[in-house]
């Protein structure tokens, strides 16, 4: 598998404080990278840098071929602005346009593509629903549909399971599992548990980045990333910090 995105020695921050320092990362074809780390560690910032939403202070992000123009983005649904009433179809259609085609994109073509992708994601009956009336799981799928409608080669999801119940989380994992056969996926998350069976690489980010092959993690590395002892559970993925874990008293 060849690399499609190469992040080289990227540094970025807010104000004068660097959030990411000298971060390098390679993303392969049909890769599945899980980015974990503490709050303020720069997880979402790295996503935004790759997507071109913000520009790095220094370093370079290079893309193979037209990959740069074929990136899908699913923002955090929990913080998504739903105050303006708009239909699911209209929202998904905005995913069809791009900097290169927004002046000439055909409305009929974008409508047809949007209908097709909503059908695939079992949202055909939600086409004319108001996004303000959707449940958290439905909104998440609509945001995925909006990202997929332009046929991306890489999909970036920011905290996709945060606002979801267990059933919706399972649905999401099934969708990602299927998509992984066709495209690369990057997920930023606080809780890696749902992705245990599908991720390929793990990137631990806390200003600096520690990149691991699946199964290469140990407690010493995690302590370095989180700045406190982290307990490794049976499945090999860290998701419980010792201090809070110890506070839970057994009955």
């Amino acid at each position: 598998m060849g690399s499609i995105i190469q992040v080289e020695s990227v540094t970025y921050g807010y104000g004068k404080r660097p959030v990411l320092e000298d971060v390098s990362l390679t993303m392969l074809e049909r890769d599945f990278i899980l980015i974990i780390g503490p709050n303020g560690g720069g997880k979402s910032t790295l996503l935004k840098l790759i997507l071109g939403i913000i520009t790095p202070w220094s370093g370079k992000i290079s893309f193979r071929g037209d990959t740069k123009n074929r990136l899908g983005y699913v923002p955090q649904s929990a913080g998504f602005n739903r105050s303006f009433p708009i239909s699911v179809l209209d929202m998904v259609r905005t995913g069809c346009i791009h900097g290169d085609n927004y002046l000439k994109q055909s409305s009929r073509e974008s409508t047809e593509k949007s209908r097709a992708i909503l059908q695939k994601l079992s949202l055909a009956d939600k086409l004319d629903e108001n996004i303000t009336d959707l449940s958290g799981g439905e909104l998440q799928r609509v945001l995925i549909a909006r990202a997929l409608v332009a046929d991306p080669v890489a999909l970036f999801l920011d905290e996709p399971t945060t606002a979801l119940d267990i059933a919706s989380q399972t649905d999401l994992i099934d969708i990602l599992n299927e998509l992984q056969q066709k495209m690369s996926i990057v997920v930023v998350t606080h809780d890696p548990t749902p992705y245990t069976h599908i991720y390929r690489h793990l990137a631990c980010l806390n200003t600096s980045l520690y990149f691991h092959e699946r199964g290469e993690l140990n407690e010493t590395t995690l302590e370095k990333v989180y700045g406190c002892p982290v307990e490794l559970l049976g499945h090999g993925i860290p998701h419980t910090l010792l201090p809070s874990h110890q506070e839970v008293k057994k009955p």
């Binding site: 935004k48 939403i53 990136l71 983005y73 303006f84 708009i86 905005t94 346009i97 004319d128 332009a150």
Partner: protein
């Protein structure tokens, strides 16, 4: 109704109302979706500062004529670009600066009106508006501005919708977000300065918001929301003007109150329909 329309001032008022409704219905949904209503209020009040300075300069016996609206244009465009650059730099102080521009703009206007000898009736009409005194030439200028806004929105429609619904996503799709945002802000500024001289600062804000609120009760399709905003804007203005003429009420206030009442009626009817639906299919 024929009797009313036989007066030229009423014909002008009618044309002005229709043009104002078209331009506000076209720009209003973008303003509401982008949560820029407060900015529009700030910009329209900032205009008062420019109006005051230009009015004062106009009375200084200069070699050339300075119409108050020129001052308003400079002030509103400068304020719009300043607020746009603040937002782009992510300084998160827009609310603060809008409030300051709002208050300082009005204060500058009042100070310069005070410094100008004699009574300044024109400025009062800018603030409260008098659609019944709109001359034919102003209607013609409005028509040109409306044409510019319609053509620009038609060309950049998809980009404007994308940045209005989710700016971050639009950036991820590599759209020229800063350019589109600046374009939208300039169109808003242009709409405001064109309209304040005919309908007044207060009516501009009303026409930018009330028709959109009514339209969003009736549709969730962006194009339809624009069309319905224009139609309800026209309905509000015509009904308001008729009421104003019939019972001799101030025209601007009649139009705004008509809009408010229509919005309550539409919301009430929609609520009743929802209640009926839930009662029938619980």
């Amino acid at each position: 109704m024929n009797g009313i329309l036989s007066y030229e001032f009423m014909q002008n008022a009618l044309f002005a109302a229709i043009l104002a409704s078209i331009v506000c219905g076209l720009i209003g949904p973008f303003i509401v979706a982008r949560k820029m209503v407060f900015i529009s209020g700030g910009l329209s009040h900032t205009a008062f500062g420019g109006l005051g300075i230009a009015y004062w300069l106009g009375k200084q016996g200069l070699m050339f004529t300075i119409r108050p609206i020129y001052g308003a244009t400079v002030f509103v465009l400068a304020a719009a670009l300043f607020l746009g650059s603040l937002e782009e730099k992510k300084l998160n102080q827009n609310d603060l600066f809008i409030g300051i521009l709002w208050a300082v703009g009005v204060a500058i206007g009042i100070v310069f009106v005070h410094l100008t000898p004699g009574y300044a009736p024109d400025l009062m009409s800018f603030l409260f508006g008098n659609i019944l005194t709109v001359p034919r030439t102003d209607v013609a200028i409005m028509f040109v501005i409306v044409l510019i806004v319609v053509v620009t929105v038609a060309i950049f429609y998809k980009g404007f919708v994308a940045i209005s619904l989710d700016e971050e996503f639009a950036r991820a799709r590599r759209l020229p977000v800063y350019g589109l945002k600046t374009g939208l802000t300039v169109l808003t500024a242009l709409t405001i300065v064109t309209l304040i001289q005919v309908v007044g600062i207060l009516l501009v804000i009303a026409l930018l918001t009330i028709p959109v609120a009514i339209a969003s009760e009736l549709s969730i399709n962006f194009r339809k929301i624009i069309a319905l905003s224009i139609v309800s804007g026209i309905a509000i203005c015509l009904l308001g003007l008729y009421i104003s003429y019939s019972i001799d009420f101030p025209s601007g206030a009649s139009i705004i109150l008509t809009g408010g009442i229509l919005l309550v009626i539409v919301k009430g009817l929609k609520g009743l329909a929802k209640l009926k639906k839930t009662a029938l299919f619980p």
